[in-house]
Structure formats: C-alpha cells, structure tokens
C-alpha cells in the first residue's frame, strides 16, 4: 500500500534544516548553563526538536519504518531519558555544576568555535552527501552536536552533566542518520534506542551508588585507581 506523502521532500528538508540550527543552539546553550535542571530541560528540548525532524521525514516518506523511528525518538529522547535524568537529579544534594576544569571565559568561546569548525570539516562532503532531503545544515549540525557533547563531557565535573554530554553526542548521530541516509533500518534504530535508554539507566544506577558511597557526584574525586 502506498500513501501519498503529505509534504514534499523539499519541505521536509527545510524542516530538517531549521531543526538542525535549533539543535546547534540548544547544544551550545547546554555547554554554557550551570544549573543541572536547565541542562536536562535543554536536553529534553533537543529530543523534541529531533522528533519533529524525524516526524517531518516520516510525513514526506510515508513508510512505516520512518513512523517507527519517529515514535522511538519521541518516546526515548524527548520523554524517557529526560525523565530518568530528572529522577536522578531529584536525589542529588547539589544541583549546581561546580566551576569546571576551564573558566567560563575560556569555555564559552572554545565551545562556540566548535560550530564553524564543524561546518568547515563537513564542507568537502556536503556536495553529494546531503541525501534526499537537501538539508545543508544537517550534517554540520550533527558533527557540532558530537563535538559539543564531547566538550561537555570533558569539561564538566558532575557525573550527570557527562551523561547529558553523551546523549547530546548520540543525538548528533541520530540527526545524521535521518538526514544523510534517510534513517537506518528500523530494527537497528530500535536497538540503538533501547541501548541508549539502558545505558542511561545503568549510568543512573552507578551515579546513585557513587553518591551513596562518596557523598558526592563530582567525578574529579574518582581518582584512586592508577598504575
């Protein structure tokens, strides 16, 4: 059975393009804010924007695979992961990110610099890699999310912020999958989502135990094992 697409590929491409820009802004904001509840809210917003992007792709493709990917993105990235992080935060005594390994004056311009770097790095590929949707911002945004997520992970001290960075990285890959390859096979997409969800759950468990044993979730205190 074939259903006529509700929107054209190019409309979906424009939605993807706008979503990509939104995601860059959200991820960048994530590297600036220091309140943990705000960074979780920003991560939830990323998830929502991603589901809008994959929803647009689904409307244009009208395949059950794309609708499945949309449902999974919405459930996992916009709802379950933020909820889980929220529950961990609820049990934490300190909800503010302590001063990181880099001062704010240094960290913000460094993070900002990652965005043009991503555009430059992807340039040689954009000519034929944009895929059917012709969303020029999607791949640079994917790389930017990957780098900004990694940046969050290495500069932050709170274990929870590192999980936020990790999920940001994975969001970047999801965007690349939707834009460049028009999505992975559904079984793979589903498996990846389950893994990410289980991963965040286990990380939450370990954070909880670390908090119980050491009374803190600052990962820079975890330095007893060497050699």
């Amino acid at each position: 059975m074939t259903v006529d697409p509700l929107i054209s590929l190019s409309t979906a491409g424009s939605v993807l393009d706008a979503a990509a820009l939104c995601l860059i802004a959200l991820a960048f904001a994530g590297t600036v804010v220091r309140t943990l509840s705000t960074s979780i809210a920003l991560l939830a917003a990323q998830g929502l924007v991603l589901s809008i992007a994959s929803g647009a792709a689904a409307l244009a493709e009208m395949e059950w695979r794309s609708w499945g990917a949309f449902a999974v993105a919405l459930a996992v990235k916009a709802i379950f992961i933020p909820l889980m992080l929220w529950r961990i935060l609820d049990r934490m005594p300190v909800r503010q990110e302590p001063p990181g390994f880099l001062s704010v004056k240094l960290a913000v311009p460094l993070a900002a610099a990652l965005i043009p770097i991503s555009y430059r790095a992807i340039e040689p590929f954009t000519a034929d890699t944009i895929g059917a949707f012709n969303a020029t911002n999607a791949l640079p945004a994917a790389l930017a999310l990957l780098l900004l997520g990694l940046f969050t992970m290495v500069t932050r001290k709170k274990a929870l912020s590192q999980v936020v960075g990790l999920v940001t990285m994975e969001n970047g890959l999801y965007l690349a999958a939707v834009a460049a390859t028009r999505g992975l096979p559904f079984a793979v997409e589903f498996g990846v989502a389950v893994d990410v969800l289980a991963g965040v759950a286990v990380m939450g468990l370990v954070i909880h135990e670390i908090m119980r044993v050491t009374g803190s979730t600052d990962v820079d205190r975890l330095r007893t094992l060497t050699g």
Partner: protein, 503 residues
C-alpha cells in the same frame, strides 16, 4: 523447524531463560544449579554449532538475521567454552565472598551476579551471531552496559570508579563507532546509486564491497577502529581497562579479558575486510599495526612495575590485544590464521590465570603481589597453574600462544618493510615482557610464604575450580601441539572469507 535451527534458537535463548530463572529460584544452591546446567548446555550447543558450521558451511536462521559463518562459529565456540568455565569458577568464588560478607545485598547480590553473568554471555553470543552491522553495534553496546554492572558488583568506591570510567570511555568510543556504522551504510547507499532497500548485512556487503565508496569507507573504518578499539583496549584508549578488569569479580575479569575484548576485535576485523576490498589492503592494515604496536609498547612498563596481581594480567591483556591487532593488520592467510589462533589461545590462558588468581586473592585477602607470595605451597593447584598460565601467556612452548606468535612473525617477515619493522619491534618488546612477567610470577609462586597461611590454611582447591580450569589447560596444550580438524577447517574458512578478493 530443522534441528540446526532449533539448536541456534536454543543457544540464543537459553542464557536469558537461565537469567530469569536465577532471579526466582529459592536458595543459593538452586541458583548455582541453574547456572551450571545452563552453562553446560550452552557449551554443548556452542560446540555442536561450531562443528556443524565446520562440516556443512554457514548456517542461517530467523530469515537471515542470524548468519553463522566460520568466524562467528569460532567466536561462539570460544565464548561458550569460556562462559562455561567462568560460571563454574564463579561457584566457589561467590560462595567464599558470601561467607565473609563481601557480596553486597547478600542473597540478592548472588542472584544479581548469576543473572548478570548469564545475560553477559548471551549478549556476547548475540553480538557474534548477527549478520547486520547495525545490530552488531547494538550487541556490542549491550555487552558494555551489562558488564559495567558486573564491574561495579562490589559497590565499593574503587569498583564504582572503575565501572564509571568503563561506561564513559567505552560509550563515547561506541558513539564514534556508530558514526562509522552510519558512514558504512551511507557508502553502501552511494555505491548502489541511492537505491532504497540497502542491506546492512555483512554477507551481502562483502559480496559487493568493491562498489563501496572508498573515501567514505576509509573514514568509516577510522571511526569504527577508534570506537570499537576503545572497547578492545587499544592504547591510548586503554586507561579504563586495568581498573575494570581488576575491580570486577575475578571470574568476570577472566571473561572480560578473554572474550569481551575479542568481541570488539571481531567487529573491527569485519569492517577491515570491507575496507580492504573498498579501499585497498594497506589502509586498514597500517592503522591496525600502528595501534597494535603502540598497545604492546605501552603495556611494557606497566607490566614490569606492577604491584597488583589482577592489574598485571589486565595490562597483559592490552599487550595481547595489541598482538592480535598486529596479526590481523599483517593480514593475508598467515596473518589472519595467527590472529584467530592467538585469540583462542589467549582466551584460554587469560581465563585460567584470572580464575586461579581469584582463588589466590581470596586466600591471601589482598591483590598486592608483595602479599601474595609462596602460592605453590599455600594453594598448590592455583599456585602451579598461575605459574604455568603466565608461561603460556608469554608464549613459551608448548602453549598455543607460542604457535600463534611464531605464525605471526613468519607472516610479518613475508610482507613488506612496514610489517617487518613492526614485527621486529614486537619481538623486542615480547622479550622484555617475558622476563618481566616471569619474574613477577616466580615471586608470587615461589617467594617466602606467610607462615600463618601455610600452617592453618586449607590447601585443597575447590573441585569447581578444577572443573573450570581443566578444559582451559587442555585447550592451551592441545592447540600448542595439534589444532583439531574442525578448528582448522573453521580457521581456513574464516581466513578465506576475510582475505579473498582483497588482492
């Protein structure tokens, strides 16, 4: 359903059923019985399926989702053997820890341990059985998640630190690898001219790997190598490895070192075969040799100056993963054969030393080698096996690793200058490691023993430990003298499927 399908279905469902059972059956003995029966059944099924693949060729099940070629069969056999030995070695180990109150949560902890171990074995079996490269990623990430729980099993500060580092480094790595998977998928899509129903099945992709875009495939390989390489323990991404492998309960350490690292390497080798065909042999090969040599060199000082028994073996794993990477990097029929033989020889030897060092660590109540002295008089079986295991790991004849290392060296000298130079460096490093490991093992085995342990201790080994190490000793010796026909057939078939057509 044909009996072959039934066997594959059982192999891939039994461990999960066992895990569920272990959560509900009453009492420690019942849990152990379920674990042992399931491990034995998995062992029989795994070996039977390997023999089946050796005799009748690749097997497919579940509409091609599961595709067992020779390489998968070798991995399944290795995982099911080490899985059986790991479960068996767990019985005395966990009993002891439960007795002295080291198992967090008591009986609940025991349930959690055995269920976790079953799921861990299951996730590795699935990883090496699926044909789809995306699902291979999913399986490998699942092994990280499950094993991280087992690494943090003791819930002490150090164990949690190790689990956290392991989760973070390997997950970041595997996210990079996912980018590589995407690029590979994209390369296939480009190659087929934008066709919609592109297969991510390795068997399909390898058949027309020449059509993959070579530039994208190279980029994909780099991401996959770095990503899965973090999990395989390549330097400089190995920093989590010694922590995780030393903090985990010893039977788990043996599984992590023996087979989990090999599973990550298995994934890399599959991508190497695709990259070789799409972009020429040299590219992937040089990267692998580079990471391999670096890992071996980095492990040298940590082995020489090590004070912690389990960390010693963890760094030895970094060395051996490096050796396997060099072997697969050299490639060709001889190189791949050496890599596969080494993978199995190392799994057996490393499993054995971790299982017996678990026994020793419990007897001495410490992992420090300044405390663990005179092991051959305190616990004759574990002590002697530890010394023998270290000899096997250093590649002394007649152990299996001797054969694989010799094969690797001759493979290297048959290739170009790069391979020859790499092998020469490796041989020099191996000589130093040999001296270092042997010196450490001699002190542990024959140093002055603590009088209290000799006078009052129970010197007898648990029958479960004997049962756990006996198959491993047999494999180490057997493979060093004569590789059984079925294994030889599987290695040849795997070697042909990985290298043929690569030029």
């Amino acid at each position: 359903m044909s009996p072959e399908h039934a066997a594959i279905l059982m192999l891939l469902t039994l461990p999960v059923l066992a895990a569920l059972l272990q959560l509900v059956v009453p009492g420690r003995e019942a849990i152990e019985r379920v674990a042992l029966v399931c491990a034995a059944a998995t062992l029989v099924l795994g070996l039977a399926i390997a023999v089946l693949v050796a005799r009748d060729g690749s097997q497919e099940a579940f509409r091609g989702i599961i595709h067992l070629d020779a390489l998968s069969a070798l991995m399944i056999a290795t995982i099911s053997v080490l899985g059986f030995c790991g479960v068996t070695a767990s019985v005395p180990y966990i009993r002891h820890d439960l007795e002295i109150g080291h198992v967090p949560g008591g009986m609940r902890g025991v349930r959690f341990y055995y269920a976790g171990l079953s799921v861990f074995i299951w996730s590795m079996l699935v990883t090496v059985s699926v044909d789809n490269l995306g699902l291979l990623w999913v399986g490998l990430e699942a092994t990280t998640i499950v094993s991280a729980l087992l690494v943090g099993f003791y819930r002490t500060r150090a164990a949690l630190e190790a689990a956290w580092k392991y989760l973070m480094l390997c997950t970041v790595g595997i996210v990079c690898a996912l980018f590589g998977v995407l690029l590979t998928y994209y390369a296939a899509r480009q190659g087929s001219g934008g066709h919609d129903s592109i297969s991510m099945d390795w068997t399909r992709m390898i058949a027309d790997a020449e059509t993959l875009d070579s530039g994208i495939m190279r980029l994909a390989f780099v991401f996959v190598l770095v990503g899965f390489g973090a999990k395989a323990g390549f330097a400089p991404l190995h920093t989590w490895l010694a922590d995780a492998h030393s903090q985990a309960p010893s039977p788990i350490s043996g599984m992590l070192s023996g087979v989990l690292l090999a599973c990550a390497l298995y994934a890399i080798v599959r991508y190497q075969a695709l990259t070789d065909r799409a972009a020429g042999n040299e590219f992937a090969s040089h990267f692998l040799i580079g990471f391999g040599v670096l890992s071996i060199l980095v492990s040298v000082p940590f082995i020489l100056l090590q004070r912690d028994l389990k960390r010693l073996f963890a760094y030895s794993s970094v060395e051996h993963v490096g050796l396997m990477a060099v072997a697969f990097g050299i490639g060709g029929p001889l190189g791949v054969t050496a890599g596969l033989l080494h993978l199995m020889g190392h799994a057996a030897a490393k499993g054995m030393v971790f299982f017996v060092s678990g026994d020793l660590v419990q007897r001495y109540g410490s992992r420090r080698m300044s405390v663990i002295r005179g092991a051959v008089s305190v616990a004759p079986l574990s002590g002697w096996l530890l010394v023998a295991g270290v000899l096997a790991l250093t590649g002394a004849p007649p152990a299996a690793i001797f054969i694989s290392e010799m094969t690797m060296f001759s493979a290297g000298f048959q290739q170009g200058w790069t391979e020859m130079a790499a092998v020469s460096i490796v041989i020099a490093a191996l000589a130093i490691i040999f001296a270092g490991l042997l010196m450490q093992a001699m002190r542990v085995g024959f140093g002055p023993e603590p009088p209290a342990l000799v006078a009052h201790g129970n010197h007898r080994a648990s029958p479960y430990l004997v049962l756990a190490v006996a198959p491993l000793v047999a494999i180490i010796l057997l493979f060093g003298i004569y590789v059984p026909g079925e294994v030889r057939t599987l290695i040849d078939a795997a070697q042909i499927s990985l290298t043929a057509g690569g030029g």
